[in-house]
């Protein structure tokens, strides 16, 4: 799978390369520029700043990525999670390298992680009691956005895993430095 560089970036994709290497997801999607052009504003909205705190969003993204075993997303979002203020031990627990219960004692966060496990860790409906617990801590719009964030992460998890997208050298160096590789 060729990852397009700035020199070969199609016209609609060029703006995404203006700030330097845009990463493997953009470089792969650039092969279909009209899809990239439509997808990126959505992804930026979903993964960028929104009404939800960055920490909350990274809990969802990293946990989902761990459940779907997406190497690229786990590595990229271990860094994003650390930047959002999560402790190294919290990152390891979300990745399944330690018990979640020891690290996440906040009831709202526990309810959220149970919800994510229900959305991304199994098929079929999420058990009603898990939904009720989530709703007792989060407003309806938050639940909608958190669920869409889990679903969007799952889409990217499969995209990155199926295509075997490589993690950047810079990200790998940062992970090594943090003992998260």
């Amino acid at each position: 799978m060729e990852l397009l560089d700035a020199r070969r970036a199609p016209l609609l994709a060029r703006p995404f390369f203006e700030g330097g290497d845009p990463g493997a997801i953009v470089s792969a999607m650039a092969h279909v520029p009209e899809v990239l052009d439509a997808t990126m504003p959505f992804l930026v909205q979903m993964f960028g700043p929104s009404a939800l705190p960055a920490r909350t969003k990274e809990l969802v993204i990293l946990r989902t990525s761990a459940l779907l075993d997406c190497r690229y997303c786990i590595q990229s979002h271990s860094i994003a999670a650390r930047d959002a203020g999560l402790a190294r031990e919290e990152v390891l627990a979300l990745r399944g390298d330690g018990p979640l219960g020891d690290q996440f004692t906040d009831r709202a966060e526990r309810a959220l992680l149970d919800w994510v496990d229900g959305v991304a860790g199994s098929t079929g409906p999420v058990p009603p009691e898990i939904g009720e617990a989530l709703m007792s801590h989060f407003a309806e719009p938050d639940v909608i956005e958190l669920t869409l964030l889990a679903g969007t992460t799952m889409m990217l998890n499969r995209f990155c895993t199926a295509l075997g997208l490589p993690t950047s050298q810079a990200a790998l160096a940062r992970l090594a430095e943090d003992g998260l590789l």
Binding site: R7, P10, L11, P33, E34
Partner: protein, 275 residues
């Protein structure tokens, strides 16, 4: 009136839609943008698709068509398809002019009186110089084809592609085409672009997007900014001038192209005089 028709009417978008009929060719010219040759993948659009593009182009408000390749006349259905397309919009067909056998020339009678121009490549009035670029016997075949097509009442244009052409050489070429019955307005001279095989041959001028008129170009691989966009180098299709992979319905790539044109900084368009 569609937004595209309005843009064409206002001169924001050129009126011509180009179609890459195929990528294979009987020649292997030294400056070929698409590295075409007898052994490359054909990547044909197909007659049905060509007709669909023509119909959709007309419906959107485009005003003419161009067919290029590869060598389009390698396709057995080409003449018939061109005649049908010309019922929808005027059309220019680019060819190396070496495949006009007696049977082909008989078919070409169907082009007489139709809004069709056959644009044939001829790079020099000197047979040796021409054949160095385009292959053995090219000059003789091309001159014979031009003569035969003109005699049958088919409009012929001659395209000269050259790195450099001096006044004396140009005059010789003009004498030649006038003698063949091709008027001055049907002789175009254009530079070699440093894309495709021209890169490896050390030929041509570098291009910026701004140098190329934004003529919607449809190929089997997607829609491009210009017929100079879907080039091939090292066997790999260039993607820098790709507009979209989606080509049907035609309004999708046409609207993306218009959006790109409208977002483009104003500048000195078409300074290379590429046609």
């Amino acid at each position: 009136m569609s937004e595209i028709a309005e843009a064409v009417g206002d001169g924001v978008l050129p009126g011509r839609v180009w179609l890459y009929a195929n990528y294979h060719c009987n020649l292997t010219c030294t400056y070929c943008l698409t590295e075409s040759g007898p052994k490359v993948a054909k990547r044909e659009l197909g007659a049905q698709r060509m007709l669909e593009v023509a119909a959709q182009a007309r419906a959107l408000g485009f005003t003419s068509l161009g067919v290029t390749g590869g060598e389009p006349f390698l396709l057995s259905y080409l003449t018939e398809t061109i005649i049908e397309m010309a019922e929808m919009l005027p059309i220019v067909v680019l060819t190396n002019g070496t495949l006009f056998t007696r049977a082909r020339l008989e078919e070409a009678r169907g082009l007489t009186g139709a809004p069709v121009a056959i644009q044939i490549s001829l790079d020099s009035a000197d047979p040796v110089a021409n054949d160095t670029m385009r292959g053995p016997e090219n000059f003789r075949r091309v001159v014979a084809a031009i003569d035969a097509l003109v005699a049958r009442g088919v409009r012929v244009r001659i395209a000269t592609t050259a790195d450099h052409i001096d006044e004396h050489e140009l005059e010789r070429l003009c004498q030649l085409h006038r003698g063949l019955g091709v008027a001055d307005e049907d002789h175009i001279v254009r530079p070699i672009l440093r894309r495709g095989r021209a890169i490896d041959s050390g030929l041509g001028v570098d291009t910026d997007l701004i140098d190329l008129p934004p003529e919607l170009t449809i190929t089997a691989d997607g829609a491009y900014w210009s017929p100079f966009g879907p080039t091939v180098h090292g066997g790999r299709l260039d993607t820098d001038l790709l507009v979209s992979r989606t080509t049907s319905p035609l309004d999708k790539p046409a609207n993306i192209l218009l959006r790109l044109v409208q977002g483009r900084a104003r500048g000195d368009d078409a300074k290379l005089d590429i046609r």
